[in-house]
Amino acid sequence: MNMHTSRRNFLKSTGALFIAIPFASELKAQGRIAAKTVDPAQVDAYLALNADGTATIYSGKVDLGTGLRAAFPQIAAEELGLPIDKIKLIEGDTLLTPDQGPTSGSNGIPKGGMQLRQAAATARQALIKLAAEKLGKPASELDAMNGEVRPKAGGAGISFASLVVDKGFELKLDAKAPVRDPKTHQIVGKHVPRPDIPAKATGRFVYMHDLEVPGMLHGRTIRPAMIGAELVSVDESSIASIPGAKVVRLKNFLGVVAPDEWDAVRAAKMLKAEWKGGGLPTDSTGLRDYVKAQKVSETEALDKAGDFATAYAAAPKKLSGEFYWPVQSHASMGPSCAIADVKDGEATIWCSSQGTHRYAKHFATMLDMPANKLRVHYLDGAGCYGMNGHEDAAADAAFMSKAVGKPVRVQWSREDEHALDPKGPAQVITQEAALSADGKIVAWHTTMRCPKPTANLPTIPLLAPVEADAKQAKGIATGSLSSGGKPPYDVPNLLVEVHWLEDTPLRPSHLRAPGKIGNCLAVETFMDELALAAGKDPVEFRLAYMSDPRGREAVERVAKLFNWDKRVEPRRNGKGRGIGYTQYKGDETYVAIAMEVDVSADGRIRVTRVAATHDCGQIISPDGVRSQVEGCILQTIGRTLFEEVKFDRKHVTSRDWASYQILTFPDVPEMKIELIDRPNEPPRGAGEAATAPVAAALANAVFDATGIRLRTVPFTAARMKSAMAESGVKFG
């Protein structure tokens, strides 16, 4: 049947994605959320038992495509004693969920999950106590299981719903409430399919990009060709031909809105504006020298043992090297998108932010409204791997919505995303170490040069408030770039220092495992250089300096899994193997990675085989951990081989997937991964750890294949080829 369809009728007829989420004040007036606490110290902030026998859990940590949406219900179901299909999850809603801090630094499970576990354990104790009174039995003889409190010895129980529903627990989280013995776990540690995948595989999942709110307009921002330029004039008549299109200008912030999305895209392209000034202090080609010449604002000694200087001076064999990690982008598949509805002194913002709570405060500040008048809802975006442009798009939408008095949806273009997302900054890392006459490491010195994050800066400054000259905290955020410079080995004379720089040319932010991949590259490549100088096989040499049994096990098992062939001298025939090891952030997850590469005569490096061992303590969701480890390895192979943000003195020039290449299917190696589960150890993060040793293992494998040490990322074919020509390396 052919029918002429108006969009709204079509949406109605297909039951499609038209979602209305009312303002907080409307909900409160309806009495629906009046009682919901979000105080992280309260059990009721995290969970509520419902009359239908289900439980709702509230999480300030959100699922970024990482599987927390499966893992959080596993933790709560296990601890409460409820089937997992009875658990509903609400994520990242500032009106309903506790502020557990942003979902970053691989802390979703170790911090967020453990708060939830403690809340559920406290709730279970309370349920048992209430049931003990009703059943007339001592609490010690009861347990919670399958939604009831029952005598452990058997007999009739009493349902959770009949114990607590209406007023909640009204209890503080009890840090001492006993958690279940891992030996008794039925759900934690088992495979639970992710609830979002059926909808994602069939196109039904509502991403941020798919949400519509009634009456919304589409907005696009226009940003200058010279970064930081000032807006001189705008010719509004240049978009007069586009129906309903309007210009929004707030000082240097320039946007357009239109009822139709494609019209908004066209209007943004057609709008004529004049800018002046702006630009960058260097281009990407000169960045390494720029960083090395930047004034050091402070030198901080992060780790010290013995006396490096004296031991180094006295040692007979010395090595040194300099490493460079370039600026990289989050390069999310979907450009950032958000919707804001700002009117009558209230605001609702829908955003894929990793930190809905802290950005709610940020948005309120920039809009000059009280924080309690603004609500942020989390919806899945494209994976972000650290803070990308999600919050910028939200700020863009908020300013435009406030100006036009209607909800505005902003979706960045591909060019916007590549050019404007805050970037992982460049790092220069130097290494010096010395061996004794009998080939023992006697001294090691790591020096890192990187921008210093501004102390106590809660959020990353956004573009729109700068342009609109609105209020926001100033500074830079980078994540802990200086973590991972300490070798994970027993070294008698050690000095790990960071030279802090005041700034960096492009706006920085957290990019997956900030700093740690480059630092591990420097440390672990250097460990291989020391092994060669000492005449030892790289695996054997590492084990000689490792005393932590968990670290040793990771390395020993990866060597076995990979079928490591012991060798001192590089093979130099175009095929090689290398190893990298880390304990993430010095005290978290252990990862060892072995890698095999094939280097062709034209300089192209292909990773053919990877083996990894990963010990993150107690595993909640094995398939979730595995999928994170796979993602860490593959994404980082791409970052190491291909990725560098290029810019000239005006702006970023890598603005699409041709000029910023990432890993593609033909480059995917064979992978073997062993997860080491330690149910009695606290769970550590899995979102980043396995990224750290990837570049190092790759560089070490390239050395084995060619006898060439690559110390500058990315390891492009052109770079490899010129290194081969310089050292006269040829194969075949």
């Binding site: 991403y207 899945d380 994976g383």
Partner: protein, 155 residues
């Protein structure tokens, strides 16, 4: 204003088009409310917007809607549903072959088109067919496994 009739998922839909250069993707998502195909780059580089046109995978972000009058368009919603998934979709679910899942549309549609031509592809053939589809999360291995599995399940 001109109107264009598109055949989408077996039904004819007529939409008003002010600008004939409007990419097909915007018509599918905004005029027809089918949001499974995603905007990834607008340049035909990443594959997130893929739909099938007369059975062939096409980048809907980079082709004008006016080019599709009279052609048979299948979107991911027309391929299957959570209740009744297409075999490629079922295999993606079984293999848990998504992290953020933003690229999944392109992977599923390109995988389904491959199976029409090559019912039992090897992993190498799947990698080759997906060489122009980008995934940033690093879900590649599972995606390949899912398409291979969907082929094997055909029997």
């Amino acid at each position: 204003m001109a109107s264009i009739t598109l055949t989408v998922n077996g039904g004819a839909r007529t939409i008003d088009v002010r600008d004939p250069d409007k990419p097909l993707l915007y018509a599918i998502r905004n005029d027809l409310g089918l949001k499974g195909a995603k905007y990834g780059c607008g340049l035909g580089q990443c594959g997130a917007c893929t739909v099938l046109v007369d059975g062939e995978p096409v980048r809907s972000c980079a082709m004008p809607v006016s080019a599709f009058a009279g052609k048979k368009i299948t979107t991911i919603e027309g391929l299957g549903s959570p209740e009744k998934p297409h075999k490629v979709q079922a295999a993606f679910i079984a293999e848990q072959a998504a992290q953020c899942g933003y690229c999944t549309n392109g992977m599923v549609m390109t995988g389904a088109a491959l199976l029409e031509k090559n019912p039992k592809p090897t992993a190498a053939q799947v990698k080759d067919a997906l060489a122009q589809n980008l995934c940033r999360c690093g879900t590649h291995e599972r995606i390949v496994a899912a398409v291979v599995k969907a082929g094997g399940a055909r029997g």
